[in-house]
């Protein structure tokens, strides 16, 4: 990322203060989101999300996987899996069990950043949601005569698939604080001017699933509460947008 001159920095800050960012967006407007599903045929489910020039791919598999970068993965984990007790988790883990108490599916979610133009977490969150909605888990037949001690025999079907239920999956909204205003979907130039950024994951019922704060400046607790309420407000529009884009992508995929 090239540096910015003082004049340009002031222009960006002034724009955010006046609610007209450098590409004309308002503070709480997202860039156009483009969703494509089924990009990786070998995976159980996959999706590619483009927000401006940021391009990320998420894939869901039944096994295997490479390492994500630590910060992104911990943030995603916190946002998707909820607290230690499992309360408020995005994915209903019980839908993954095959035989009660014995065998279940292990879901591995991988994210790949193809190009970064700011706002990676939001794009990754959207990609994970789209990939999960694209995921088809093979139906498993359990042979009945297994006794309770032995390993039950399972027959993984190649033909029939179960769609994953993604209504509970939350979406991540990153609010970047520049000066005394918050913006969503920051470009790299705007991110270089930020004092701090809070990423909040909200699910469709409006409940908070996770929270991460980045950036060196300290934040007053009242500001964090204010950011949470702004995030909840923005999440409604984002959910509608994402759901319609995912539905359109799935429809394209089926054709």
């Amino acid at each position: 990322m090239v540096g910015l001159s003082l004049g340009e920095k002031n222009f960006i800050k002034g724009g955010i203060a006046q609610d007209i960012r450098t590409d004309g967006r308002k503070r709480l407007t997202y860039r156009p989101i483009f969703v494509e599903t089924g990009v990786i045929p070998q995976a159980s489910g996959s999706a590619r999300v483009k927000m401006g020039a940021t391009d990320v791919i998420a894939s869901v598999k039944g096994r295997g996987g490479e390492e994500l970068s630590v910060e992104l993965s911990t943030a995603l984990q916190r946002c998707l899996l909820g607290g230690k007790s499992g309360a408020g988790a995005g994915i209903d883990l019980s839908s993954l069990s095959i035989v009660e108490g014995k065998v279940c599916w292990d879901i591995y979610i991988d994210g790949l950043v193809v190009s970064s133009d700011g706002n990676l977490l939001d794009a990754l969150g959207a990609a994970v949601k789209a990939a999960l909605s694209n995921t088809a888990i093979p139906k498993v037949e359990v042979t009945a005569n297994a006794s309770s001690e032995e390993q039950p025999e399972v027959d993984v079907s190649d033909e029939e698939f179960l769609q994953f239920d993604t209504t509970g999956v939350p979406v991540i909204i990153t609010l970047t604080k520049v000066g005394s205003h918050y913006i969503v979907d920051a470009t790299p130039e705007e991110e270089s001017q930020m004092s701090s950024a809070v990423s909040i994951s909200v699910n469709s019922q409006g409940r908070i699933c996770g929270l991460t704060k980045r950036g060196g400046a300290g934040l007053d607790p009242s500001i964090i509460l204010d950011m949470i309420s702004v995030a909840k407000h923005v999440s409604d529009q984002l959910f509608n947008k994402l759901d319609s884009e995912i539905a359109a992508a799935e429809a394209c995929d089926d054709e």
Binding site: L6, N10, I20, P32, F34
Partner: protein
């Protein structure tokens, strides 16, 4: 057309394809003979002793192209001009660059070229406008003129014998650019014209189309001639003028760009982004046409980057070029 990352629905895709086809058919009539690809034979009259220029080579007695482009003939010289090339500086080009280093007696600028350009301290006007030999104190105060990451407008003075590019910024219209945004487009989309500085009066903004593909859109700055200002002031008023100059940079940080000017800047910047993504040549007339189109449709500024507007701009451009062709 590379790097278009938009979700166009089916009708939009059809309309865009149709508009682009129309544009292609309009352009290919004029110079289909001249376009060549690599290893095409260039038709030359074998009687004349022709000079083989850039992009050509001799193969089996034929002159063959080594680049994809358009054949140009000037007297006895035959060469192939590439359509999508890196920026090639020429003397007198107006360019916009960013300072990456403050070196002894010069600044190094990044100008979207294979090398960094050099702006010598002696090619730069001193703040007071007086002409004198640059001393060591001037060298120590270089940072007060331009710092790292500043955006500067300058003119190409020439090449040194070692291939280094030298710039000059002697006139008042060159210098530091503030209060605006810098856009990067492909260099071949900016054609060489008589005027590269444009003051769009109805919007109150300055538009500088750098030949290297860097375009500056910003608030209008009045170009003051310091020699004129000095003549008008008498000696007792000069100290006040100096203190005003030193205050102005601090003031600029606080004063905000007025809202309407900012909207116009963003609209123009988005118009340039759309044109560059579609691969159309960027000139003032085309930019103004796109901005007028967006205001006539009363689109929100950020909607200019949406798929519908892209398709509209492509269709409008196809219309404009076909009407130009019919007039001739």
């Amino acid at each position: 057309m590379r790097g278009m990352q938009l979700s166009l629905n089916k009708t939009q895709k059809l309309r865009l394809e149709r508009a682009l086809e129309q544009l292609e058919s309009l352009s290919s009539k004029s110079n289909s003979d001249a376009s060549v690809t690599v290893a095409d034979n260039i038709s030359v009259n074998c009687e004349d002793a022709i000079l083989k220029g850039h992009g050509t080579t001799e193969l089996d007695g034929h002159v063959v192209a080594t680049l994809c482009g358009v054949v140009e003939r000037v007297n006895k010289l035959v060469y192939v001009r590439a359509l999508r090339a890196r920026y090639k500086p020429e003397i007198g080009d107006i360019i916009v660059g960013r300072v990456i280093e403050v070196a002894p007696k010069c600044w190094r600028l990044e100008i979207n070229f294979s090398q960094d350009a050099v702006l010598m301290l002696s090619s730069m006007n001193l703040p007071n406008g007086i002409q004198r030999r640059r001393t060591a104190i001037d060298e120590l105060n270089m940072r007060s003129i331009f710092e790292e990451n500043d955006v500067i407008c300058a003119e190409v003075r020439g090449f040194q014998h070692d291939g280094c590019l030298h710039l000059q910024a002697r006139s008042q219209k060159y210098g530091k650019l503030e209060r605006g945004q810098l856009l990067t487009i492909n260099p071949y989309l900016v054609k060489k014209r008589k005027q590269h500085f444009h003051y769009l009066e109805q919007y109150g903004i300055d538009l500088i189309l750098g030949c290297n593909g860097y375009v500056w859109v910003g608030e209008h700055v009045e170009v003051k001639d310091p020699m004129l200002v000095e003549d008008q002031l008498n000696k007792s008023e000069q100290p006040i003028a100096d203190s005003e100059n030193s205050m102005s940079s601090a003031d600029e940080v606080d004063t905000c760009t007025p809202l309407e000017t900012r909207e116009n800047i963003c609209r123009t910047a988005n118009a340039i982004r759309v044109l560059s993504a579609l691969g159309f040549v960027v000139t003032v007339e085309v930019i103004l046409a796109v901005v007028n189109l967006s205001t006539s449709l009363s689109l929100d500024i950020h909607e200019m980057l949406g798929p519908e507007f892209y398709v509209l701009v492509a269709e409008k451009e196809a219309e404009r070029r076909s009407s130009l062709g019919k007039k001739r």
